[in-house]
Symmetry: C2
Subunit: 198 residues, 2 copies
Amino acid sequence: MYPESIKNLIDSFKCFPGIGEKTAERLAFSVLDLEEEQIKFFSSSLLDVSDKVHKCAKCNTLTDSELCYICSDSTRKSDVLCVVEDSKSVFLFEKFGIFHGKYHVLNGLISPLDGINPEDIGIGKLLDRIHDENFGEIVFAFKPSSEGEITTLYIKRTLENLGIKITQLASGVPIGADMEYLDKLTLERAMNDRKSIE
Amino acid sequence: MYPESIKNLIDSFKCFPGIGEKTAERLAFSVLDLEEEQIKFFSSSLLDVSDKVHKCAKCNTLTDSELCYICSDSTRKSDVLCVVEDSKSVFLFEKFGIFHGKYHVLNGLISPLDGINPEDIGIGKLLDRIHDENFGEIVFAFKPSSEGEITTLYIKRTLENLGIKITQLASGVPIGADMEYLDKLTLERAMNDRKSIE
């Protein structure tokens, strides 16, 4: 009932997670309100991302050059490595400017229930890198979850005798949170990790 | 901080109404999870829509041929014309299969407050068509709003002496609605237009 080109566009939008029929229709019709230049730019951006974006040869962060800009930057601290579960975490930390060392991006987290084992998330490459470079500290920055804990414990154990300081992000009450909406585990962690007021 | 091609894609998604920075980022990263074929299809669908979709020469419904499939269909009832405010309404009626006559798509609705006058929404073309074709009934199917009412009244007045039956969609309580969430105007209309039970 739709003209074929509009139908194809609706089908494309429906490939995205969280976008159903109605939203896809709304987005497809919005395309008709864009300038021709904007549509061309959108179309070529899609092809560019598909053609040019790949993982950094060293740290796996998504990049469109051989090494990502962080690995190429010799002014960054090279003695501390932040291990994250995906490139989005790198971009988030960089947006906020709260970490100035190097990163290593795993291919997700270990999840035995989903059949995801250490070798599936590229831990070998991480360990090789840790052995090659001279890091004084490794920070784990995974989302708080059982998968995050399993992955942290697994890597920590394999690094045990190297004398490297191993840390992870603090858990606790997020700034601005309403106490009544916090889950039990978050509150329990915040209580157990309570700090003396100086 | 993002690779340029990802940044361009995020910027493209941000052109859509209702899509902010975070959603645009999420969608751009979702593109990276699509198959290369899906991305190419998406990219070419965008160009296709831009190149091929235009208004039907007769009724203004969006189409990729000279006349839309409804105007080209000689089996449809040709004595009743449904006037709508945009092509989306046509596709909606067709999806539900609840109207079997012809359509005419205006370029929006008259809105004096926004400086949108009758000539801006293509009423001349509609009137020419009504004079040329032999409609027995014109149905107005605008969204219930003051703009819809102004547009209805304006067209009705110009057609007054032609002896054509003029109707509009019934307003009232939508099926499945919770009474407590209905606005005053809807309830008032439903009360004024109450029907005897047969």
